[in-house]
């Protein structure tokens, strides 16, 4: 595979609802990685994605893709989005209403190849809708068209802006598989904005936690979301969705990576620092876990 390490070191003054904020990001993304940009809204995730796409110009810094310079404020280089070989999936999907599903995908191709269009339609289960206008599709179908379209020009970098934010939980799990598939088909670097922990665990190989315009933490999802990684234990990372008080104990419900619900019993002093929405890690010592086969 071509070596296309992305290096970026940029600064950009953002206008947020809380006033001005400086986005200062320095990061390196290896070829083939699926990087998640995680953080609360207004932290600068989407701005960073747009900067990578060339849709927003940073105030200063350097962005390099392999040996190609995409942006260099010192040399006054700013490569147009058209020249960056990217696939960008917008939050609103940005499908062209004047075109059918297959026309949307064909539009993205530089060298018209009907076999490739058919293969993409097939891979995303869109063959039966290929002649439909995109306005009448459901949210999930729209997303699949948007993904297929983003892949059609065989980009070196796939950028996904909160791909699953408008979709219900069941559909979400299904579409996460499709993103994983897209990443596999393309075998190219993918950067995804997300504020859904499940999504990050399920898909990402690396996470950048962005807070107030800077990278707070970076690493694998496990590294980032567990304070102290100790080996030799079973652990589940997830988010607290409910804390129920029952007589002397409390039942904490946690939803984890694979949309899995885990219930844990906790005592009064355990829950003092916990609240709904916290990211937690549930672990057990080495001798406790039992294994049952569910599928072979």
């Amino acid at each position: 595979m071509e070596d296309n390490i992305i290096f970026l070191d940029i600064e950009k003054m953002m206008l947020t609802s809380n006033g001005k904020r400086n986005l200062i990001i320095r990061a390196e993304v290896k070829t083939g990685e699926l990087l998640a940009l995680y953080g609360s809204s207004g932290a600068g995730k989407t701005t960073l994605l747009r900067i990578l796409a060339g849709l927003t110009k940073p105030d200063k810094g350097l962005i390099q893709m392999g040996k190609t310079i995409w942006f260099d404020s010192a040399k006054k280089i700013n490569l147009m989005p058209q020249k960056r070989s990217i696939g960008f999936m917008f939050q609103d999907f940005a499908l062209f209403p004047n075109m059918t599903v297959s026309e949307n995908i064909r539009f993205a191709q530089n060298d018209k190849n009907n076999n490739h269009v058919a293969a993409l339609l097939e891979a995303f289960g869109l063959s039966e809708f290929k002649n439909h206008k995109t306005t009448n599709l459901s949210g999930g179908q729209k997303q699949r068209v948007a993904l297929a379209r983003a892949l059609a020009s065989k980009p070196k970098l796939l950028l996904l802006d909160e791909p699953l934010s408008a979709i219900d939980a069941e559909m979400r799990a299904k579409l996460q598989d499709e993103i994983a598939q897209a990443h596999k088909i393309l075998s190219a670097t993918t950067i995804m904005v997300s504020h859904d922990l499940n999504e990050v665990f399920r898909l990402a190989t690396k996470v950048l936690c962005i807070e107030n315009g800077t990278v707070k933490k970076a690493g694998t999802p496990e590294e980032v979301f567990s304070e102290n990684s100790i080996s030799g234990k079973v652990q589940i990372c997830g988010q607290i969705v409910r804390i129920e008080k029952q007589d002397i104990v409390n039942i904490i419900t946690i939803i984890s990576g694979n949309n899995q619900i885990t219930k844990v019993i906790a005592f009064e002093n355990d829950i003092e620092k916990l609240q709904v929405g916290d990211q937690v890690i549930v672990f057990t010592k080495a001798f406790n876990p039992m294994i049952v086969k569910v599928f072979s």
Binding site: L55, P81, Q82, F88, D92, A94, L95, T135
Partner: protein
């Protein structure tokens, strides 16, 4: 129906078709520029384009006559170099009419372009398409209702012009005499039958055009972009 009557209707129709065609060609790029430009004097240019909506037609007519006058700069230059007189000619009326109807073409197109989500344009750029390809393949096809509104409104407005045509063109049969002026003229001469006929035709044409606009817009309400 006499020849003069047909001739007047023909001039009216010709003026409306020419004005609308010219405005459509120059209106789309101007509307696109207005929608996306960050030029600091843009509000000034927007105001200038919208002036014909608020100014009395006689003011525009007066300035056009000043410009056309062979004693002044532009008029003299045109006469010297191209042997072209614009005052009291069809061409002169056409230019004045284009300026006078400009906002009626630009406004609907501008609103149409602005109402498209930015992501459509940006998606096209990230897919490697140039601004020109995006303009013709994405922007124009997705503002069709606005285009129909703009064309119908400009056409109807041009047919309804009175003041500017009278000031700049006078009332020359076969050259600058349009239906709206003919009505005034016939009433002055107490030819109520002819005036009535002109009036009914103008009324019906405008009614049909406006009905078209409203039915297109009604269909458009149900047709959401996203």
């Amino acid at each position: 129906m006499d020849e003069a009557f047909i001739q007047t209707l023909w001039v009216t129709f010709k003026l409306a078709v020419f004005t609308t065609s010219i405005l459509f060609i120059i209106g789309l790029p101007i509307a696109y520029w207005l929608a996306y430009s960050r030029f600091i004097f843009k509000p000034f240019i927007e105001a200038l384009i919208s002036m014909p909506m608020v100014l009395p037609p006689s003011v525009i007519g007066y300035y056009m006559l000043l410009i056309y006058s062979p004693r002044n700069g532009i008029g003299a230059w045109l006469l010297r170099n191209f042997d072209l007189r614009l005052a009291f000619t069809f061409e002169g009326v056409l230019i004045a009419s284009v300026i006078f109807s400009l906002p009626f073409m630009i406004q609907p197109l501008h609103t149409g372009i602005r109402s498209l989500p930015d992501s459509l344009r940006e998606a096209s750029y990230t897919l490697g398409k140039s601004k020109i390809v995006t303009y013709f393949k994405i922007i124009i096809p997705n503002i069709k209702p606005s285009i129909i509104t703009a064309i119908a409104l400009t056409f109807a407005h041009t047919i309804g012009e009175f003041g500017v045509v009278l000031m700049v063109g006078g009332n020359m049969p076969g050259e600058t005499r349009v239906a709206s002026i003919a009505i005034y003229d016939e009433v002055q001469s107490l030819n109520f039958t002819t005036a009535n006929l002109y009036a009914i035709i103008l009324f019906l044409v405008s009614m049909i055009l406006l009905t078209t606009i409203y039915s297109v817009n009604k269909k458009n309400e149900k047709w959401r972009i996203i």
